[in-house]
Subunit: 307 residues, 2 copies
């Protein structure tokens, strides 16, 4: 009987207000769980035990695509059996496809004796993202694989920089409305006013400085997105009311998680994050939009073997 | 005889490649020197001992404008006698007007018993910048007043963040060509491609992280300006040849200082910075463009009393 490992792969929040396409962080929950074993078949077998009817053809399944790009790099014909046990809800904007991609490449790397570092796995996981959304972005897969906050400084060549952070808590609310990542990218403008760009990069630099120094006030002052949020907020009913409620409840900042529709916040304490989550849920509840919320500290480790 | 103090106010490099309008750092040399004393006249008297025929009418002199905005905030009718002893060459792109503005407000603050912090003086010195170039920018006056690297995260409200740095050395070459700050701003595009903006803010976040961690390689990888340099380089003959020569000589990075025409580099050691300075001078020498160069460590303290 071949060794079977169980993997937990975390949800992630990309963009983090001012860091569009470059910044992300990992959560301790929710996440994907998969089990994974080598098999002798020379092919990748996929089994779905989640309620989401995941695509199971190897060229459409995010996990399989990412895994295959890693196997290609190794020139390996190794086969794997992968069972999807539980899954972040697809389309929620908290890195569901990134978690799937990270789980597959991380699990295979473990089973093969770790030929790659976590950082190297990012390139393979990005191929899963390409299959999911058409764009091989790394701002979710990098924190899913490496944990904490990560900066994707550059794509060519890929340069991922870990950013340390003080203890900090995310509250995320997911309204049950559909926003597709590809649509969410299409509505963005191709050109932005340089004044807004300067404001954005001033805030991103401030956020990075605040994370390094543990200056929560600076983190809060920096969590503004003047470029992407004003456009994507149009796709999320009640966005501004919920943001205001989160800030009133004590959040340091609030913006759209990735391409939405989830809304994330950061708070200094878990107690505040819990209050913020309630305030955001209430904002959707009162207009009859079904929703759920998570509170989590930042996951410092990233994807891991749990059994 | 009233107490006279002598002030050294440093040259500064604004933008620092990827930090257009938000980042700057101070040099240990060159700088402005002024002497300053309270007088009983109720007005500001200006004396010029520099070779530059500085404007001495109070509404045109950068030092006097900055000083007056500080006196207005204090509702003070105090008079000062200011003598300009030596001066960074105006129009060089290394914060000549910022040094003048910083010197005036810092000196007056000292003579009046320090009613303001260095950080508070930035707002007043910005008024000097407005008189000099039409824009009250802070990316030179902030490092001139506070020393080191500074981030102007936001203008409304003004939020200046000190960024620590490892030991690092600047080499700056100033070709004797005229580029006016106001012209240099006019040629910039009002809109920029979002892809370029993302690249720029990825690099700025990388630079801030590199400065915090003392990762010289990361600093070097991040010192790229894909938005402003390609436009302003058109105003500086030989720019790309000189940049290449600087990088070949070992500089971590090279770009335009402020609005130019000076070109700055950062290097890990003083010996490398000296080599880089020679390489850049040679680049201008061989095409007959008169030039001079400076090598300096980063000034950690900012403007100071020297006597």
């Amino acid at each position: 009987m071949p060794k079977t490992i169980k993997i937990f792969s975390p949800a992630t929040v990309a963009n983090v207000a001012c860091g569009f396409d470059v910044l992300g962080f990992a959560l301790n929950s929710p996440g994907d769980e998969i089990s994974m074993a080598l098999n002798g078949s020379g092919s990748v077998e996929l089994r779905d035990e989640t309620p989401y009817r995941l695509p199971l053809s190897p060229e459409k399944n995010v996990t399989a695509v990412a895994l295959q790009s890693m196997l290609n790099a190794l020139q390996s014909k190794q086969g794997f059996t992968i069972t999807f046990l539980s899954k972040i809800m697809p389309g929620s904007g908290i890195g569901s496809s990134a978690a799937s991609a990270a789980a597959g490449v991380f699990g295979a790397n473990e089973l093969l004796g770790c030929p790659f570092t976590r950082r190297q796995l990012v390139e393979f996981a990005m191929q899963g993202e390409r299959a999911a959304s058409g764009t091989a972005h790394a701002d979710n897969v990098a924190p899913a694989l490496m944990g904490g906050f990560t900066l994707v400084r550059s794509y060519a060549p890929l340069d991922v920089i870990p950013i340390p952070s003080p203890p900090i808590f995310a509250a995320v609310v997911h309204p049950q409305i559909e926003v597709r990542t590809s649509d969410s990218r299409k509505i963005l403008r191709h050109e932005v006013p340089i004044k807004k760009a300067v404001e954005q990069w001033g805030n991103l630099a401030g956020l990075v400085a605040g994370l390094f120094t543990g200056d929560y006030d600076l983190i809060g002052r920096s969590l503004h997105d003047v470029i992407v949020e004003p456009v994507r907020a149009l796709l999320i009913p009640e966005f501004y009311a919920i943001k205001q409620a989160a800030l009133d409840a004590g959040a340091l900042g609030c913006s759209i998680s990735g391409s939405g529709p989830s809304i994330f916040t950061l708070s200094r304490s878990e107690a505040t994050a819990q209050k913020v989550a309630l305030a955001m849920r209430y904002g959707f509840d009162r207009v009859g939009i079904e929703n759920h919320a998570f509170v989590s500290s930042v996951n410092k480790e990233g994807v891991r073997v749990v059994e």
